[in-house]
Symmetry: C2
Subunit: 391 residues, 2 copies
């Protein structure tokens, strides 16, 4: 039985998510927006019966069993944790910081019977499902290098907001880089041990952001990850990813372009996902072969939602349907269909990598990726100061 | 009047160079090979009247006024310096080390009336000539990022030799990376101030290299250059390149592929050279436009000589013809037609960057690029030890 859905967010992803959910038979009962106007406007456009700017009104809505959270990173943790506390299943976007991600992990572990996934749609894109499968089957031999690049137009909103602020989770690294960090770990079955990166903000002001306001979030970044042992143990092959170098280049100063390319190179061949299509070439073979074309179907390209994310979102919603449909209870779900999803633990790992890359860009050095195992004491700095003064 | 030519080397570049020289009207009088057999075999194949394995026999040959040196890096310095000392014009490949490159600079400065260029053919490729021109004209606006990538099959020779040895100038960084370091400096009119890099040797042994022998040269590398003020002052635009980030990815574990792509991104648009073709896109324009197709003409793709290098080599030989043909003396030349060539000073800069990237790969840190201004004293270490013991 499919659960009723409440959607948080009025941005481009929320806008495409609602029709995808309905297409699979989910009913969307409630919509939350940052302001009453935004909520009302989108609810009217999409024909959603209930809208609000009070988060509790959605979380406590009796018909909502599954909460989809596609809002600005600083608000995600609060709503996700509260939703789990109320007993609702959660699909959400990334948090703003590792500390927030850690709090989400704690909540998810406290309610293991509830669904809690980070909605990185790329994992569900058929091209990447196939790439992971082929990696496990040894298509490329021993994996050596992963190279991902995304080029596109500016990620900044029309007006000043979180997208402009590094500390609020804005910027290419946090927004797009994090989906690649997650994907590369999923594909290789390994996690970054050390990272090195370089971030730049080339466009500090524009027509909409001027005066005393400046963009602090990155529009260009470039980072390397040295992968170590298997992280989650759910990777494509046991230990295949150990010793692999991953390189990621992100450039959002390229209006009119959208390039989304992930290449994995090994001792026996290579695989490249260009947009939503997968190509492969074995060493000694007759050139590149198309392994998976774009199936189309789940809709046209939508402004601000790149095709790989749109198609992936469609596949993720389908997987959610399979997870729920055979269950008698509206809040029960089967793990199998969503086993490939990014968990909140994965979300914490990704956030840790993102912060390590930012640290590296400041220090100029390789930084270790050390995933938090306990919440940092907010009074720690204070304690240290007291300690120093005592001596 | 065109000078008589002596060619050093029997490799793939020497093999394509001879017909290109003849096509422009140069006479090739002498060929040097590492062994008598190699020299004899290629001389017979190409119909060169004289061959030898003694370098002096070519350098002192009365009909040779221009010496083209395409041999393994450790031998380049010795022959280039000697050729200048005998009063011959020199076009040569890169040296093995910065110290060697410095000695070549000293020799070139001592004989300023002789032609002395490093034969980086990419500078002459029409796509890059046009790219540099368009950069100077402001096509991309303020330059932000350069991104170069070369993917191809292994660079190792069939048998064990210098290509396998990092210290002998083998590896993708030294062989191919150096041409890109030179090109990016030429295009941007700026020089790398700091570099960061990562080198890997994924294939340590193969069918031809086994037993106790191991490859030490890199087959994968990935480096970043932060560009500073104008280096040679001959760049595309004054100061355009300052603050630019350059990223270079080289992967030579991709049999059957050849990708050669250089992209420059600025505030108003971008230019991309794919292979020998140049594409451009202005922000707000109607997609990408082909700015320069491949003219063809200078021959088919040749094994081991990528098309951009082959075409560039053809254009360089044409430039050499123009430099010499209007002169009365066989050894006189006009600077204009070869003004865009890489000088020995540029060669020293490139070598310095290559060594800084290697240092960075070992240290894991950003390394400064400091071009040598005097030859290091080979006894310096000894002196330091004596100094320490004295105290």
């Amino acid at each position: 039985m499919l659960p009723g859905v409440g959607v948080f967010g009025t941005g481009s992803t929320a806008r495409v998510l609602v029709p995808l959910l309905r297409g699979e038979g989910f009913e969307v009962h409630a919509l939350w927006g940052m302001s009453e106007e935004e909520a009302s406007s989108l609810a009217q456009e999409l024909g959603i019966p209930f809208h609000t700017s009070q988060s509790d009104d959605v979380l406590l809505h009796p018909d909502v069993d599954l909460v989809c959270i596609y809002i600005s990173p600083p608000l995600t943790r609060q709503i996700a944790v509260k939703a789990l506390g109320i007993g609702k299943n959660v699909v959400c976007e990334k948090a703003a910081t590792a500390v927030d991600a850690f709090k989400m992990v704690t909540a998810a572990q406290y309610y293991p019977q509830l669904l809690s996934i980070v909605g990185n749609a790329l994992r569900f894109l058929p091209a990447f499902v196939a790439m992971r499968q082929l990696l496990a089957e040894g298509y490329v031999g021993e994996l050596q290098v992963c190279d991902a690049r995304v080029y596109g137009p500016s990620l900044l909103d029309q007006s000043y907001g979180w997208t402009c602020e590094e500390l609020m989770g804005g910027g290419g690294l946090h927004t797009v880089g994090s989906t690649l960090v997650d994907l590369l770990s999923h594909l290789t079955g390994a996690r970054a041990m050390r990272v090195h990166g370089l971030l730049r903000t080339f466009v500090g002001q524009n027509g909409a952001i001027h005066g005393i306001r400046r963009v602090t979030s990155d529009d260009f970044s470039f980072f390397q990850m040295l992968m170590g042992g298997s992280g989650s143990g759910r990777g494509a092959g046991t230990g295949t990813g150990s010793g692999v170098c991953c390189t990621v280049t992100l450039n959002f100063n390229m209006p009119g372009a959208f390039v989304h390319e992930v290449m994995v190179v090994g001792s026996a061949g290579r695989l490249v996902a260009r947009g939503t299509e997968l190509y492969g070439q074995r060493n000694g073979g007759n050139g590149e072969e198309l392994l998976l074309g774009d199936s189309g179907g789940t809709g046209q390209e939508v402004k601000d939602v790149p095709l790989p994310h749109l198609r992936g979102l469609g596949s993720m919603v389908t997987a959610l349907k399979y997870a729920f449909q055979a269950q008698e209870e509206r809040r029960s779900w089967a793990r199998g269909p969503v086993a490939m999803a990014s968990t909140f633990e994965d979300g914490l790992y990704v956030q840790t990598v993102v912060e390590a890359v930012k640290r590296s860009s400041r220090s100029g050095e390789w930084e270790s990726v050390e995933v938090m195992t306990q919440e940092p004491d907010p009074n720690q700095n204070l304690c240290e100061v007291l300690q120093i003064n005592k001596n």
